[in-house]
């Protein structure tokens, strides 16, 4: 604990440039810090390390805390991969309409349960991505429509093609999509991930579901972060009776199977609510799940910092309590909070997916991963059309990505450890 708090200690310091000399280094450093924690400048090696001699060590010595964190984070290869994946996922969130090619609500029972098309990349040895048309005919025995690829009908794919109208970022009217097909309606010809029971395009629906599921997780984590920081802060900073009450509450919440409780809350939502109302209600229910862990982290940090000399010093020179908390204490554990928040996100995403999967969360016409997976509840259906399970893939990938990212951030949060 002690060496996580970089307090100036003359017995350890070997190089102590003035803060003014360090300032340009902090702002014009070649590596932009991902996590900025403007804590006190720490220019001394961690206890037990040798005295500074070489250039490399010199660079460590004068680096800001944010730079040290970034360097350590960069070394964590899985965390870098996780960060890249998370950024990619949120690009999908921002550009869901651009990345899809069919209107996610365009349904047609005639096109139900078409298997994913294979994309052919070369035509006569030249790069020219295309798909074969899906031809439907009735099976004379079962009267079901069966779709097969017809290799004689070649449909070339085009990029930046016009398609259904949408508003980019919710404001700019646009109709350009990353992929499209020449001359024909993509809703009727292109099925990169197949279609669902009602003939809606799975690829486009997964894009929109990513938007819903990831924003709901993000909003929920912010709400539970606010709850966690306030309650954990009160608990850790003031202690005493408030601490006891909050700690008991957390203990009780952790010793109770919570999913049945949230199911009960979710089921109590009136059936008449609009999609937006349900969205916010679910967000709040989910955020009630994650705050305990965040409160625990914040409380622990407050407890360990409360007794530090610099807090006493700030108190003695008459700093207001809010100033002590927000100027002197919070910057020191901001990085820990960011790491804990990242690690809390997967649980939120799983909760939304699970509730919607059960039919208690978001309801159609909302599109989320859980709503899409609802169609995969029946084994017989899944066995015949396994592509209905595809929405499980982004769920698993994003949870992995957040776990890797969170692990890396947690390691980097303590650059002196």
């Amino acid at each position: 604990m002690a060496d996580t708090v970089p307090i100036y200690d003359p017995t350890k310091a070997t190089v102590t440039p003035s803060p003014a000399a360090l300032a340009p280094e902090a702002t014009s450093g070649p590596t932009a810090p991902a996590v900025s924690a403007p804590g006190p400048l720490a220019q001394f090696p961690a206890p037990g390390e040798p005295l500074l001699t070489s250039d490399a060590e010199e660079r460590v010595a004068v680096a800001t805390q944010a730079q040290l964190m970034w360097r350590r984070f960069r070394k964590h290869r899985l965390a870098m991969i996780g960060a890249g994946a998370v950024i990619a996922f949120y690009l999908v969130v921002a550009l869901a309409d651009f990345l899809s090619y069919a209107d996610p609500e365009a349904s047609d029972a005639q096109r139900g349960l078409i298997a994913p098309q294979r994309v052919q990349f070369f035509l006569d040895g030249r790069f020219s991505p295309h798909v074969y048309a899906m031809v439907g005919e009735r099976d004379p025995a079962t009267f079901k429509r069966v779709y097969t690829e017809d290799p004689t009908q070649i449909i070339p794919l085009t990029f930046f093609a016009p398609g259904f109208d949408y508003k980019l970022f919710g404001v700019i009217p646009a109709d350009m999509h990353l992929i499209g097909v020449e001359g024909v309606n993509p809703e009727e010809t292109l099925f990169l991930m197949g279609t669902d029971l009602e003939g809606r395009d799975m690829w486009s629906r997964v894009m929109y579901a990513t938007r819903t599921s990831l924003t709901i997780g993000l909003v929920a984590v912010v709400v539970s972060l606010v709850l966690g920081v306030i309650l954990g802060g009160i608990s850790g900073f003031y202690g005493g009776f408030a601490d006891t009450v909050i700690q008991r509450t957390i203990e009780i919440l952790r010793s109770v199977p919570t999913i049945p409780l949230w199911m009960g809350l979710a089921a109590a939502m009136p059936k008449t609510w609009t999609v937006t109302q349900v969205y916010f209600a679910i967000t709040i229910i989910i955020s009630l799940i994650g705050w305990t862990e965040l409160a625990r982290v914040v409380r622990g940090r407050f407890l360990s910092l409360r007794e530090e000399d610099f807090v006493t010093a700030a108190d003695l020179v008459g700093a207001r309590q809010s100033r002590i908390i927000f100027v002197h204490m919070v910057p020191l554990f901001l990085s820990h909070i960011i790491a804990a928040t990242t690690l809390a996100l997967p649980a939120m995403i799983i909760s939304e997916t699970a509730l919607s999967f059960l039919g208690l969360g978001l309801r159609p016409p909302a599109i989320s991963w859980g709503v899409l997976l609802q169609q995969a509840q029946n084994v017989q259906t899944v066995a015949l059309s396994p592509w209905l399970l595809l929405p499980a893939l982004p769920v698993i990938l994003v949870i992995l990505a957040f776990n890797f990212l969170g692990d890396g951030l947690r390691d980097a949060a303590d650059p002196y450890a």
């Binding site: 199977p257 919570t258 009136p270 799983i350 999967f357 059960l358 499980a392 776990n403």
Partner: protein, 328 residues
């Protein structure tokens, strides 16, 4: 030790009370009182009750009185063992729940026990041979175990079982035993069906337990007393098992208290996917039908069972770890 025991039991009682309040809130949440829901439910199925009967029901549950009186009335009924009527079934809640509550606990406890049986040796191996190929493999599997939500894992297992073995591996009993009275054969049948749901339920906590055990033991193995033990010529086996493993077990053991609630929570959703005859499917159905007495009773019973399970595991821990006995 006695004071710890008393404090622990008091906390458990307090938790049970908190759960009862939460369950009551869930019963109260839907608009209208439950007699309204009851009547609309009955008229939907063709039958109805008279106004008198409705009034009588309202009086019995004190629905005209303030909310705390209603709560007190409900608690009194529950303490007498009367959990109310399940509207949809037209039968007492206790009868509808039947074996399902026990089966929920059987599946959950099996998952917890399995978690321990698997996580301990793997965690020790990973710490003793860190960065070995097997350690990397377990780490990778652990990450996957953490990342795949249990209900999705259930879906995948079910799908692959169906496609490759052409067998439905869901359920807890073979069809011929499903409604049969309890016999030795039925018990054996249950044991045969138990591993699949137990693994699916336990895999996430297993992954976590492996990571905790590995980290703890790694810290412990670096300590000077282990070096001393080796220097004195203790066999590697003894140098690891005699003290470091036992010390590393303690923080590991203290996580058990939070494993059970987590697993019970998960069992609700997994049961739905795998079609297990636990309270999970019943809870979902009662919530969708707004059969709130049944839903409240399930939440309450599930919570209390979990608290008891956690209490027992804590007592077990106290018996294993003398430091808890001495310190408090």
């Amino acid at each position: 030790m006695l004071s710890y025991l008393i404090r622990r039991i008091l906390l458990a009682l307090f938790t049970c009370w908190a759960i009862s309040v939460l369950a009551f809130v869930i019963i109260q949440l839907p608009p209208g009182d439950f007699v309204d829901a009851y009547i609309s439910n009955l008229s939907a199925s063709g039958s109805g009750i008279s106004l008198d009967q409705a009034q009588q029901l309202r009086a019995e549950y004190a629905l005209d009185e303030p909310i705390w009186v209603q709560y007190a009335r409900w608690m009194r009924l529950i303490l007498r063992g009367d959990l109310g009527m399940a509207m949809e079934w037209q039968r007492p809640v206790t009868e509808v729940i039947g074996d399902r509550l026990w089966l929920t606990m059987v599946v959950s406890i099996a998952a917890v026990v399995l978690t321990w049986l698997v996580a301990l040796p793997i965690g020790i191996y990973s710490a003793v041979r860190p960065y070995s190929p097997l350690d990397y493999l377990f780490t990778l599997l652990g990450f996957l175990g953490l990342a795949v939500p249990s209900f999705l894992l259930g879906l995948l297992v079910l799908y692959f079982g169906f496609v490759y073995f052409n067998a439905n591996i869901g359920g807890l009993f073979s069809p011929q035993y499903a409604d049969a009275p309890w016999t030795g054969a039925k018990l054996l049948d249950l044991l045969r069906h138990l591993p699949v749901p137990a693994v699916i339920l336990g895999i996430a906590s297993m992954a976590q337990a492996i990571r905790i055990m590995r980290a703890n033991l790694l810290d412990e193995l670096r300590k000077p007393y282990v070096v001393t033990a080796r220097a004195k010529g203790l066999s590697e086996w003894r140098a690891i098992w005699k003290y470091p493993v036992r010390v590393a077990l303690n923080p590991f053991a203290s996580t058990i208290g939070y494993t059970l609630p987590y697993v019970v929570s998960g069992s609700i959703i997994v049961s739905l996917v795998l079609g297990l005859p636990t309270v999970g499917p019943l809870l979902l159905r009662s919530l969708i039908a707004q059969d709130m007495f049944l839903a409240g009773a399930i939440v309450l019973l599930l919570g209390i069972m979990t608290v008891i399970g956690t209490l027992l595991s804590d007592l077990l821990l106290m018996w294993i770890d003398p430091r808890i006995r001495v310190d408090d």
